[in-house]
Symmetry: none
Subunit: 413 residues, 2 copies
């Protein structure tokens, strides 16, 4: 089986500032083609360290992915390091400079002279186009190994992998493969899911089911090893069916859709529109909904009523209710959702009010207490959640996702 190695380059990866998410993302993507990653080397912007990592990686891997160090500044050494490693010179390519200059011209900026450096690539290597940045990638083959140099900026790296490398890997044939697909769950903890799935998650099973947790969002990874893709795909499909049978409505996607995407799909199917009224999440629910391209088809908009005054004046939450029950209460959450429906004429509304912390909690209403209201037509449901003890960020994230999940369940899975 062919294996990959990843070399991640950049001082920022070694000083506690930036987590190397590129290696993580790449290794996950490569597995979908049945290519396991056997090692990651993280090195700073030092020529000898980069070259020795390339040398080590080439000993064990067949595909070597290199990210970072393709920028225009002096500490961007990947071009030169690749040339040294391959034993060739760097070569200036006019057509690359033309593309870089066009990039700046479209922004009405004169191309800085340092960006000229980005038009150099090792002799004999090929260019991997970068449609959204100035750093072209490099593709080289040497001694039967393939080298892919990509920028460290995640959005550029991913786009180039998707556009240029994914199709190339897809066309490769033969050999045993390892495939991974995912089932996305919301609404139950990791240990409860693990209990329900039982033996499926035991080591050594094939397919094996693993579990990762991101806040309340739980992803089950089904890894199948087989002689060919078709067999692996069938094994995964069968296991997916079993998991959905066991977990039921906890599963929100078997196709890598996000919760906002699934909610959007349901709203579209039912030809319904949505409005939001947020307090402690401060706009996060709206942001998540509008992450989805085309969300303007069902999302009318919403309010961030961070102050009581706006809750009252804009959403019509009665002042007495705010006084009697407090802004963080079932009653206010419900009135916010009703106000959002009334003001927008939307078919459905989500409202959230809570205490995200770190301050503002009391014994009766501790940090992490959140009320979520979902109004669909005339039907209102308000639920209480207690997310403590978590960080402000995590409480807000879980509140927003729980609201979307509640809407999903009420719309019918």
């Amino acid at each position: 089986m062919k294996r990959a190695c990843i070399v991640s380059i950049g001082n920022e990866l070694l000083n506690g500032r930036t987590v190397d998410t590129n290696a993580h993302w790449l290794s996950g993507q490569l597995l979908t083609f049945g290519i396991p990653t056997c090692g990651v080397w993280v090195v700073g912007d030092e020529m000898d360290r980069i070259v020795s990592s390339l040398t080590e990686a080439a000993k064990v891997g067949d595909f070597i992915f290199i990210t970072g160090g393709l920028g225009p500044t002096d500490d961007d050494l990947t071009r030169q390091a690749m040339a040294d490693f391959l034993g060739v010179e760097l070569e200036f390519r006019q057509e690359l400079l033309d593309i870089i200059e066009a990039f700046f011209t479209s922004r009405k900026i004169v191309t800085p002279s340092i960006n000229r450096m980005q038009a150099m690539i090792p002799k004999g290597a090929n260019v991997i186009d970068n449609p959204i940045g100035t750093a072209p990638g490099i593709y080289a083959v040497a001694a039967g190994k393939e080298y892919f140099c990509l920028p460290g900026v995640p959005v550029e790296m991913r786009r180039m992998f998707d556009d240029m490398i994914r199709p190339r890997l897809k066309n490769r044939q033969g050999g045993p493969v390892s495939l991974t697909e995912r089932v996305s769950c919301y609404g139950a903890g990791e240990s409860i899911i693990a209990q329900q799935l039982g033996d499926m998650m035991k080591r050594g099973r094939n397919p094996l089911v693993n579990c990762t947790v991101n806040g309340g969002d739980i992803t089950l990874h089904i890894v199948a090893e087989a002689a060919d893709f078709e067999t692996a795909r069938q094994m995964i499909a069968e296991r997916k069916r079993q998991i959905v049978g066991i977990l039921g409505s906890i599963v929100y996607s078997t196709e890598d859709k996000t919760l906002p995407e699934v909610v959007g799909q349901l709203l579209r199917q039912k030809k319904m529109t949505l409005a939001t009224a947020e307090s402690c999440t401060g706009g996060l629910v709206g942001k998540l909904i509008t992450d989805v391209p085309g969300s303007s088809g069902y999302y009318r908009g919403g309010w961030v009523t961070y102050s009581n005054e706006l809750k009252n004046r804009e959403l019509g939450v009665p002042e007495e209710r705010l006084k009697k029950y407090g802004a963080v209460s079932e009653q206010v959450a419900g009135a916010m959702a009703q106000g959002a429906v009334r003001r927008t004429g939307a078919d459905a509304a989500i409202a959230i009010t809570g205490i995200a912390g770190p301050d503002g909690g009391t014994e009766q209403k501790p940090v992490g207490l959140v009320y979520i209201a979902v109004q669909i037509g005339k039907n209102l449901e308000v639920r209480e959640f207690r997310f403590a003890p978590l960080s402000r960020e995590m409480i807000r994230q879980r509140a927003a996702l729980s609201a979307l999940n509640l809407l999903r369940l009420k719309l019918g899975v």
Copy 2:
């Protein structure tokens, strides 16, 4: 100067499931002692890969941190790999088994036989106590290098580092140190900043200035190497003053504050309140503002007017104006900001309208076109931005940050 290397062990780190946060955390901690990390090796549960990574790490590092592979199961190979690497046998330690058995007994569980394996450590090595788990750590010295093996479970690894390793590193005296501090910038590209800073970013300079980019958010890392902390700190402070002198208002923080934190600080100082009116960012600006604890002190709230209807009805954007200029226009952005101030009585407002894509662009109004309005008191300013060709996510991120930055500049840096 002494340097560290990190070897992270575990299949889960190489299959897209788990991000290696241990290496990130450790490298950040080590820097506070002036110890830079010169490389990270991520390897799976394979004996030969672990041993060869230890061999490579020992060539360049003085302190080698190894995390993972200390559990009780078959695929936990770190103990044996360390013994092989050091050229010694594994040795059974009764006192370790006593501790492991006490751990299970206190939980009223009979010690599983597989955990006996965790009482083995390489001959001549020392134990690093694990107060919260069954996996003891290993400390060994060989050929002047120090090796620290810690569990992969982050909470155990961090606790053992804090309790046992931190005091040891703190007590080391003398020797050269490396310190890193940061300057945060917004409003100019990487190459333009690099041009302005010139020689400061040239390789080999001390202090050295490196640059990382996250969307439009640019971080300059100032790395100083000196005989002692005090000297390194002074070198960094002096370089920071020079950078601020050159880049001026492009610098928004020299203390690791985020843009929303800086904006919040300014609003607080000026005793001003803020409202938001968002279209294409869908709530992201509100989310960013309310990421900051205590933002309720200055943030009144806002609108996500995703539909024209809401722009008109809630913010009073005249219908003729929407028809004549379109929702994505200078005129509508301005009217949204004015509406937000009028409706909330806030001292300032930010409004954003644009085309985040991927669809909805035209030749006149392409994807990435964004208008940002900032109203402060009676003063309104609207700016046009063109963020294409970027992803929807990046366009929204840059639009939101550019709006906060424009507000920062208008509030006075």
